[in-house]
């Protein structure tokens, strides 16, 4: 799809007026499977993990996921990604396990999550591991890897989208020239026009802008097509005939897609208005910031790319070690590579006791730090070696963001 479509809804002026209002309504709207009386709403699925954006992003925030005794999630927001080591989707189940389906289409699998305990930097920590049961379309491919993703918070995204590609490339060049332990890599993405762009959205920085990221979520999480993800059946593969044959939405609407460009643009406009929530100020934060810089956190989580409050991410991909590995690549990122998580708003997340890192495994900021390995190992070890008062100050600083 031409990039111009994305841009059209984002320029200010009369055409864009009301977009945020509309986008907010769309964000909360529950879509329904086709065919339904309200054609405007249908097209959900046939396979899906949620009916509405807001289901996994409550109030735009990280979800707090709870589980029953069997390890099945009782709230939404945690999804199971599938990929083979080279990043290709599972030949039958596709790129994600959808745990709900339209009537007449078998649900892909039951998902349960169990803790896997490991010793990390001298501490016993747990990471969630997905177990799939009742696989309705036969076994996964032998080399398909399974990994979990927690829905990310949606605050401060405009600041990320507005960073010029060159600024991110310049940071990568700077880190390479410094020759230190940290050497971030640009997530190279070729857009539809063949232009090289810098990926920056998603845990692996696979998406170049919010329009495409939104389209990706509509497709993978809700099974709805849009100009950027035109497959009406979303993540259904040819190995899932019932899903491919199920009714699709959209025939009554103006365009060929279940979600048209105007809807995506309105959601983007809405997302761009969501501000970063403030953290909790404290007397120790100033000292903590000095520790943060001294141990080397700022090498990746520095304020170089601006933002108000500062993003505190270089938006580059870094090898974070085997403990955090997803087991498979995604886009141009390898299994152990992750985009530096922006720390703006971390104080709010800490205050809510939301799970941190890509699968929500870290219950505290300290646990999240300890999981850092690979390029971040030096900084992590220097943090651990610091006196308790310094560590406390650093955490107070992070809580203030």
């Amino acid at each position: 799809m031409p990039a111009a479509i994305v841009v059209a809804g984002l320029v200010s002026g009369p055409a864009a007026a009301l977009d945020e209002t509309i986008g907010r309504a769309m964000f909360r709207r529950a879509w329904v499977p086709a065919p339904s009386a309200t054609k405007s709403d249908d097209g959900l699925g046939p396979l899906f993990d949620a009916r509405a954006c807001v289901a996994c992003h409550p109030a735009g925030d990280r979800p707090i996921v709870t589980f029953d005794r069997d390890g099945a999630a009782t709230t939404r927001g945690l999804v199971v990604r599938l990929a083979r080591p080279d990043g290709a989707p599972d030949p039958v189940y596709g790129r994600q396990v959808q745990h709900e389906a339209a009537t007449g289409v078998p649900v892909e699998a039951m998902i349960a999550v169990a803790p896997d305990h490991r010793s990390v930097a001298g501490r016993r920590l747990a990471r969630p591991v997905a177990r799939l049961a009742d696989l309705a379309y036969g076994p996964l491919a032998a080399d398909t890897r399974v990994s979990l993703r927690l829905a990310p918070p949606l605050f401060g995204l405009a600041a990320i989208e507005d960073v010029p590609d060159e600024a991110i490339r310049a940071l990568a060049a700077k880190q390479a020239a410094a020759g230190g332990e940290v050497r971030g890599r640009v997530s190279e993405v070729i857009d539809e026009t063949g232009t090289p762009r810098v990926g920056r959205f998603g845990f692996k920085a696979q998406q170049i802008d919010l329009g495409r990221q939104t389209a990706e979520a509509f497709s993978t999480d809700m099974g709805m097509s849009s100009p950027w993800r035109p497959a009406a059946a979303g993540d259904c593969t040819t190995g899932q005939p019932a899903c491919r044959a199920a009714p699709q939405g959209a025939p009554d609407r103006a365009g060929p897609h279940e979600i048209d460009a105007a809807i995506v643009a309105s959601i983007v406009a809405f997302l761009r208005t969501l501000p970063v929530p403030r953290g909790t100020a404290s007397a120790e934060a100033g000292k903590g910031e000095r520790v943060f810089v001294a141990v080397g956190c700022a090498a990746c989580h520095g304020g170089d790319l601006g933002g108000a409050p500062p993003l505190r991410s270089d938006l580059l991909l870094h090898d974070l070690g085997e403990g955090l590995s997803s087991g498979h690549g995604e886009g141009s990122a390898g299994a152990r590579e992750w985009r530096t998580a922006p720390l703006a708003g971390l104080g709010h997340a800490t205050a809510r006791a939301a799970g941190l890192l890509h699968d929500g495994r870290a219950r505290t900021v300290e646990e999240a730090i300890l999981w850092h390995d690979g390029e971040a190992r030096g900084a992590r070890d220097r943090f651990v070696a610091r006196p308790a008062a310094d560590r406390r100050a650093l955490l107070a600083f992070l809580a203030s963001l």
């Binding site: 009369p14 007026a17 009301l18 945020e20 209002t21 509309i22 907010r24 309504a25 964000f27 909360r28 529950a30 329904v32 339904s36 009386a37 309200t38 054609k39 405007s40 709403d41 009916r51 509405a52 807001v54 289901a55 992003h57 409550p58 109030a59 735009g60 925030d61 605050f155 009554d252 609407r253 103006a254 105007a262 809807i263 309105s266 809405f270 208005t273 969501l274 501000p275 929530p277």
Partner: protein
């Protein structure tokens, strides 16, 4: 409307200078006082309309035949303009907005109240466990772990137990739209012609259709009586010692003016142009039609605009045919910011013309509002889009007046700027 305006609430902050010198212009105090008087007049008319509806509903329940049902429906239609004209008071006046949800909440999951056609409405809704609670057929309900005794259908049951039951805003048990559903039933025509076609016999104890006519009668009676009570409470807000009037007059006059413009700007922009019109147009969704059971949306939109114009000019034709006039924001702006005032005044007229075009088309019987927003209806879509564009321009015109008057104005991109926790809530 229950949907909270978020995007682009005109948040007006005072920072106001020099309004009281000019001889010809009314003082800000006078404008605010006349606004409160207009509030009283408008809400008294809305109350009178609801009382007329109450009379017609009582007559229908006494003799539940198609003729009396038609009279009751007409009374509802006739009452609506008087309420819709008050909507310019809603935003900015907290006391009004606090009562508004009980009176005009929308959209509603009508399956909470009565039988529905499941093939059109759907069986379940993930976000609303009471999506098909059908209280008319079920004297006992459970909301979460709480049991509700609905054996007697009373105003109290509707207002306290069922309205927003389970914290779901689509559980609208009271107000105009609940009554609308009880009089018309579901509009099963989608974006095709026709409104709801509930039979009068749904209320006939002797020849009852769809069951539970006694309970349906009790519901209609309670909902109608409650509407009259609530509108009486809204009118009382504007009496000499009424809560809304007191809140307004105890503010500095500049802030009082800011309240007036907040109401006009917010209704024009985010609420009417955005949530009630553009959203439906983008989705081509008849469920996004404001008065969806009765096909009366063209009137409800038109009279919103008529009310806003009346507030701007402090000129209003009352239900009894007399005319209210008073010191107006227009008069004040003409002195202090003549260019912006003239421009805004013309934008009010232009918007009225666009809304009139929608109303006239619907009144002609050629095309109802839900058909206008249907996919592929080029002419209808353009009519509604014309209304949206005019309302947005009107909101901009109001902004210009506000800034011309030396009021400081912050045009919010979204309520979420102030409170991210509101984002996920309907």
């Amino acid at each position: 409307m229950k949907r909270r305006l978020s995007t682009s609430t005109l948040a007006l902050v005072l920072g106001f200078a020099g309004l009281s010198q000019a001889a010809a212009a009314p003082t800000a105090e006078a404008v605010v006082a006349s606004y409160a008087d207009l509030g009283r007049a408008m809400y008294e008319d809305a109350l009178a309309g609801a009382k007329a509806l109450q009379g017609a509903v009582d007559a229908f329940l006494a003799t539940p035949n198609p003729e009396k049902l038609a009279v009751a429906r007409k009374a509802w239609i006739d009452a609506r303009p008087w309420y819709q004209q008050t909507e310019g008071f809603r935003f900015g006046n907290a006391a009004v907005d606090a009562l508004e949800g009980k009176v005009n909440a929308w959209p509603l999951d009508e399956g909470l109240i009565d039988y529905v056609d499941v093939s059109k409405y759907g069986e379940t809704n993930e976000e609303n466990p009471l999506y098909r609670a059908d209280v008319i057929a079920h004297p006992k309900l459970k909301v979460g772990k709480k049991r509700i005794d609905a054996r007697r259908i009373t105003k109290k049951l509707l207002a306290e137990d069922l309205q927003e039951a389970g914290g779901v805003e689509a559980n609208v048990a009271t107000g105009w739209h609940a009554i609308e559903f009880l009089l018309w039933g579901q509009d099963l025509n989608g974006t095709g012609p026709g409104a709801g076609t509930r039979p009068a016999s749904d209320y006939d104890l002797a020849a009852c259709t769809h069951g539970n006519c006694d309970r349906r009668r009790a519901y209609l009676k309670a909902a109608t009586d409650l509407l009259v009570d609530d509108l009486a409470a809204m009118a009382a807000l504007w009496k000499d010692d009424g809560k809304a009037r007191r809140a307004l007059t105890k503010k500095p006059a500049a802030e009082g003016l800011a309240t007036i413009f907040t109401g006009l700007g917010s209704l024009s922009y985010g609420e009417l142009a955005g949530e009630r019109m553009k959203l439906g147009l983008i989705l081509h969704d008849p469920e996004e039609e404001h008065d969806c059971f009765s096909d009366n949306t063209h009137n409800s939109h038109y009279y919103d605009q008529a009310g806003m114009t009346a507030i701007w000019r402090a000129t209003y034709t009352r239900r009894d045919g007399t005319t209210f006039t008073g010191a107006s924001t227009l008069d004040l702006a003409r002195e202090k910011a003549p260019e912006a005032a003239t421009k805004a005044d013309a934008l009010f007229d232009a918007t009225t013309a666009k809304m009139k075009a929608i109303k006239d088309t619907a009144d002609s019987g050629r095309m109802a509002y839900d058909q206008m927003i249907g996919a592929g209806n080029v002419e209808g879509n353009a009519l509604v889009q014309g209304g949206v564009d005019a309302l947005v321009a009107q909101a901009r015109g109001i902004e210009a007046v506000v800034s011309g008057l030396g009021l400081k104005i912050a045009m919010e991109g979204s309520a979420s700027l102030d409170d991210p926790s509101k984002v996920g809530k309907k």
